[in-house]
Symmetry: C2
Subunit: 318 residues, 2 copies
């Protein structure tokens, strides 16, 4: 669905700002708390928080993160889910969000309604209150910028740092080919992230947004390099399908495509990995975790593995 | 200064995303806490907060909130100050912020450096930590979206609701003509807002961003209308200067221009207003507060006053 209206009467400019904000509150429905705890005052008021808090921000921009082929409700859900994936990556629980819109006045009111309803449904599913926002004009532009708050679910939050040389590298799910639909159909790994943050043998974690080849650098401890066993990498069916079109190896897509929104995490070198696998399977019988390699000292790669570093993920601003 | 570079080598596309984010951390300097309390992990980690918290979001967009005539450092400061003004309007204290950028790859690195350094200087002045952000590509677009957190400074936060018929209407400072420079030179009324929130005779408050004529509706209690005494409205010298260009009355500019970032608040009908004026003057000898009218029952306007409602402030998306 195209986000721009053919007729002015169907566009947000016909509605005007005041009525648009009223409409947005209606579309958000029960995930929009009453003022001053939601939209309607200079700021939104949030309750005190006795736990460590987390905050992250990610946008969706027309032409970058979605196009006419993505249903508007899925765009709204994707906006929230991208941010939820960042909270999942630290093992935290979401609480509230604000959304700043920058839109061309020709944007169709109906498109925006479906966008907000899709976001509201995702917010309801994950217990997120949409407490505020802003609407500004952006000529020939359509973007929404969400800032998400959360709180630590247990005694620790999992950082990107913490892995040591020799630790194992694991991923959830399967990787690659997200452009074929996974980039908006994915489910953020919130329960999985919280579960992993509660396991002491997990040393560090992040989500895969720009592609494992690029993102894994942030998890790599000083004095080591990520040694990946190619046959172990869980290549998604979408990566294989995509590879038939591009002529590149499916493995390349699994490592470089980005927008997987899976978790990558390190497991302590001496951990009981069989026990971890059994416990995981009991907790999440429908989602696999896969050991794809380890952080090896440079020049001492295990036989059959390759040093990730020659490949690149998605580079922005290029 | 134009935000777009003449040569590709001077643009952010020459820098690339990874180096740009490193550069941003450098430009922010000491207002950028180390990871995970700042930029560098999936989320930023914030301390627990025993007080009620506040959150607000406002952007600056090229062509809407600034143009080539505004120094880039002032654009960065304005982005933060717009949000600080929302916190001031509730009598709260700022703590931390995140900033999402959407930029054309042709944006000049030097422009962006001055923008971030200006924001950092304002953040330092007001004790705000810039804890996170995002950089996304927006073709032919330049906008920055800031979300600001704060906490209640005292036992209450001042809402927009709370005024009663008969209450007095006050404003800080002078109004109008912000386009001549005040829209980026203003100082958010943080100390003043906290002081007012501590005075029990103040019943409600907001900041003036779209013009008093429009904003005051949100402060008006049901069954009343804002009766303004024209001669009492503090018209700024800029409103008078602007009026000479536009041919409109200076009072019109004072009531309708917007971007005043002054506070408008209601004072209880039976308050000791002389005592309030004395206490204010002791606390803020260099800034005036002015009573401009009261919330009158409709049809019972005090002699010489007019009902605000026939005039309009700045309407977005038109």
């Amino acid at each position: 669905m195209k986000p721009f209206a053919g007729r002015k009467s169907d566009s947000v400019s016909a509605l005007g700002e005041t009525r648009l904000i009223e409409a947005i509150r209606g579309w958000l429905g029960e995930v929009s708390p009453p003022s001053p705890f939601g939209i309607g005052d200079d700021c939104a008021v949030l309750a005190p928080c006795p736990r460590r808090q987390l905050v992250t921000t990610d946008p969706v921009i027309y032409g970058r993160h979605f196009d006419d082929s993505v249903p508007p409700a899925a765009v709204g859900a994707k906006l929230l889910k991208r941010n939820l994936s960042d909270l999942a990556a630290m093992g935290a629980r979401p609480t509230a969000a604000v959304v700043a819109l920058a839109i061309d006045p020709r944007v169709a009111t109906r498109w925006l309604e479906l966008f907000y309803r899709g976001m509201a449904a995702a917010a309801h599913r994950h217990g997120v209150a949409i407490v505020g926002g802003d609407v500004a004009q952006g000529d020939s532009f359509l973007g929404a910028f969400l800032t998400l708050f959360g709180e630590a679910a247990g005694s620790r939050v999992l950082l990107r740092t913490g892995a040591r040389p020799g630790d194992w590298i694991y991923v959830t799910g399967k990787l690659g080919g997200s452009l074929l639909g996974h980039h908006w159909r994915f489910a953020p790994r919130l329960a999985e992230g919280r579960w992993l943050a509660g396991r002491p043998e997990i040393r560090s974690m992040m989500d895969i947004s720009d592609g494992l080849a690029k993102d894994l650098h942030a998890l790599t401890p000083p004095g080591a390099c990520p040694a990946i066993e190619p046959a172990a990498v869980p290549v998604s069916p979408a990566a294989r399908a995509f590879a038939r079109h591009t002529g590149r190896p499916a493995l390349h897509h699994a490592l470089c495509d980005g927008e997987d929104y899976e978790l990558v995490f390190s497991v302590a070198r001496r951990a009981d990995r069989a026990a971890l696998a059994r416990a995981w399977h009991r907790a999440f019988p429908r989602l696999a975790i896969t050991c794809i390699g380890r952080f090896a000292p440079p020049g001492r790669l295990p036989p059959g593995s390759f040093a990730l570093g020659s490949l690149h993920g998605y580079e922005h601003l290029r």
